[in-house]
């Protein structure tokens, strides 16, 4: 169904929040102020936003190594995110997880994951819990085109279909897995061609169009909540930066033309243009949103900088749950 102005504002706001957070993270990384790996979501904002605006806070998502965008879209807290990226005690994971394991179970964000495909069975497990509790919640699996080639994805997709679980599989097809193009790793063009093999309905969506993603997602979620089982969304999208970090490798694995063509379809520009046409947001209003988010990001960076490092005494905490249980 045609989204309301409020929905459009929400889609726009979440995309801008992702974009600003990621660009700030990229700057910090290039300045050597973030440890570890950093997989930026810039360019793919329409997918996470379109998907998560169609969800409730109780619905769950499982994420990937490229997880910041998913968490921001699910309502993640900038302070805790930035602090986690810096490895501070105030971060989402008390500094123990970092970018690749950032998570917020209270928001139903079941974690970024360092293992490609590793999060897929976990979201399916959450789907089992939702079905069993009959709580009407839905779990969503974000995964890449490359992840669709790994066994864990296949097993979990088939499991979800066999058990008719309330799960939505969202493929972020950005045409590359690290530095290797899709054509080198699969003989199909559309990952959604795999849905039929699980007995799931599947659709292809313009992953640069937040509204299109949102609309397709609303249907998939309704289907899941109605107990009709899982479905598959393939979102055609593109990452604007390198696989990790910002700069592209010395080695060229994507052409400038290709990159520029995709950038012409920047998901935020597209939505702002559309909203302007509809008279819902002029340049000034858009700029205001950008500015507000930017200042939140600045505050988050400050918060993270000012936060204490984890106390070495906590190194061995939380390996096990001590309360309850027999141990």
């Amino acid at each position: 169904m045609e989204p309301t102005p409020e929905i459009l504002q929400e889609l726009h706001h979440r995309m801008v929040r992702i974009r600003k957070f990621e660009e700030a993270a990229g700057r910090l990384a290039e300045a050597g102020r973030l440890p570890g790996f950093l997989h930026l979501y810039v360019g793919e904002e329409a997918v996470a936003s379109g998907v998560c605006v169609a969800l409730t806070d109780e619905d769950q998502i499982s994420s990937t190594h490229r997880g910041h965008g998913h968490l921001v879209a699910k309502g993640g807290d900038f302070n805790k995110m930035m602090a986690e990226l810096m490895g501070k005690a105030t971060g989402y994971c008390n500094g123990k997880g970092g970018s690749m394991h950032i998570s917020d179970l209270d928001l139903g964000m079941l974690g970024a994951n360092g293992i490609v495909g590793g999060g897929v069975p976990i979201a399916v497990g959450a789907g089992l819990a939702n079905q069993y509790k009959d709580n009407g919640n839905v779990s969503v699996v974000f995964f890449g085109d490359g992840a669709s080639n790994i066994g864990a994805f296949h097993e979990a997709a088939n499991m979800a279909a066999a058990l008719k679980l309330p799960v939505v599989f969202v493929c972020e097809n950005n045409e590359y897995g690290e530095y290797t193009p899709r054509e080198a790793t699969m003989a199909i063009t559309d990952v959604v061609d795999r849905a039929a093999g699980y007995g799931m309905p599947g659709v292809i969506v313009d992953g640069m169009d937040a509204v299109a993603v949102y609309e397709a997602m609303v249907e998939a979620v309704a289907r899941a909540r109605a107990g009709q089982g899982p479905s598959f969304l393939e979102c055609k999208t593109y990452r604007f930066y390198n696989h990790h970090g910002v700069q592209v490798l010395g080695m060229k694995y994507r052409s400038d033309e290709e990159l520029e063509a995709w950038k012409k379809r920047d998901p935020i520009d597209l939505l702002e243009a559309r909203m302007a046409e509809m008279g819902l947001m002029d340049a000034e209003a858009a700029a205001a949103v950008h500015a507000r988010v930017e200042s939140e990001i600045e505050a988050a960076i400050q918060f993270a900088e000012d936060s204490p490092a984890p106390d070495p005494a906590t190194l061995l905490d939380d390996v096990y749950t001590l309360a309850g249980g027999a141990a």
């Binding site: 971060g91 994971c93 179970l105 994951n113 976990i122 789907g127 089992l128 864990a152 390996v319 027999a326």
Partner: protein, 340 residues
């Protein structure tokens, strides 16, 4: 654990398998969040019979068959646990742990820590290990050493019906990922089992028989084999202190060190391959904590360095038995074999 035994009001004989099934039923009756998933666990009740009648009693929403997909089976349990259930997932043979190793060791075991503690994973993985059935190299392994090396997991390998019921109960009630390993060759073994539900604490060993000359540390099917060996050795005037580890992660260091300090000689016994097996860790910890008390290096009786052979004519020479255990004990005691 005698304490727990005494609290038992009604005790009668059950098989190892029967104790598993009863513990599961009783836990499922008390906690509606416990459900069971795995290959052939539903209608068939499991290929070994662990789950007989569970689907009938609790319905197929609480005990159901899954596709042949060990990674997804474990992940199903992990996700369901994080989302508030208390799942039991079954991996038919312990050898299949290798198929699901990423989901077990990179996901289930690490999630809580990676999330800064903000996750609880009351997941129990049940599986069946051990050799001696001519099941060959991919259906006979004892892979506990791989699991015990992974922080975040707890692993139990009971040797009696009593411990099967108490440890399975403890595993399911535990808020951490636990792995419960049945021994395929002990499923029919009978023993006293209290009717009511009880726990055998994870991490506590059990002294099977007291002795003064040497400490024998074993678990799973190697416990009765060690007892049989000790009986033989008793005739030679050798008195063995036999400790059933019961839990292999964490291990009951106090119990084994105390015995080692008293007997001054120790032999560790397991079915798994010797190189890199749990025996090495146990021997090292005992040596670190009782070095001045030891009159000989800690002995290890285990499988040699090869896959498990199919032919019974070879397998019988592969799996440790009472004879090889007795030899290992004599060797650590520096006693010649009788008639040599």
């Amino acid at each position: 654990m005698t304490a727990t035994v005494e609290t038992a009001t009604e005790t009668r004989e059950l098989t190892y398998l029967g104790a598993f099934n009863e513990a599961l039923r009783q836990v499922m009756r008390e906690d509606p969040d416990v459900l069971v998933a795995g290959e052939d666990v539903g209608k068939a009740g499991g290929v070994f019979g662990h789950f007989t009648g569970i689907a009938e009693e609790f319905g197929d929403r609480r005990c159901f068959d899954t596709p042949i997909a060990e990674q997804a089976i474990v992940g199903l349990g992990t996700g369901a646990a994080v989302a508030g259930l208390r799942p039991v997932v079954d991996l038919m043979f312990m050898d299949f742990v290798l198929v699901a190793m990423d989901q077990i060791a990179n996901q289930a075991a690490k999630l809580k820590y990676m999330f800064g503690g903000k996750a609880t994973l009351p997941l129990t993985i049940t599986t069946s290990g051990g050799a001696g059935l001519s099941a060959a190299a991919q259906h006979s392994q004892s892979l506990e050493a791989l699991l015990c090396h992974i922080p975040g997991l707890k692993v139990v390998m009971p040797s009696t019906p009593y411990d099967v019921k108490g440890l399975l109960t403890a595993c399911i009630r535990d808020d951490n990922p636990t792995v419960f390993v049945s021994n395929k060759r002990m499923l029919g073994v009978k023993g006293p089992v209290p009717e009511e539900l009880y726990e055998v604490p994870i991490g506590s060993a059990h002294t099977v028989q007291s002795g003064d000359d040497i400490t024998v540390i074993a678990y799973g099917r190697m416990v009765p084999e060690s007892v049989a060996a000790a009986k033989k050795l008793a005739e030679e005037g050798i008195s063995c202190d036999i400790i059933d580890l019961r839990t292999v992660q964490p291990i009951d260091l106090d119990a084994i060190t105390a015995s080692a300090r008293r007997t001054n000689r120790v032999v560790v016994v397991h079915e798994a391959v010797r190189f890199g097996g749990l025996g090495a860790e146990i021997a090292s910890q005992i040596t670190e904590h009782a070095f001045d008390y030891l009159d000989a290096p800690v002995g290890r009786v285990a499988a040699p360095f090869s896959p498990v052979p199919f032919s019974p004519h070879l397998e019988s020479h592969y799996v440790p038995d009472k004879h090889r255990i007795a030899d290992g004990i004599r060797e650590t005691l520096g006693r010649p074999a009788p008639g040599s």
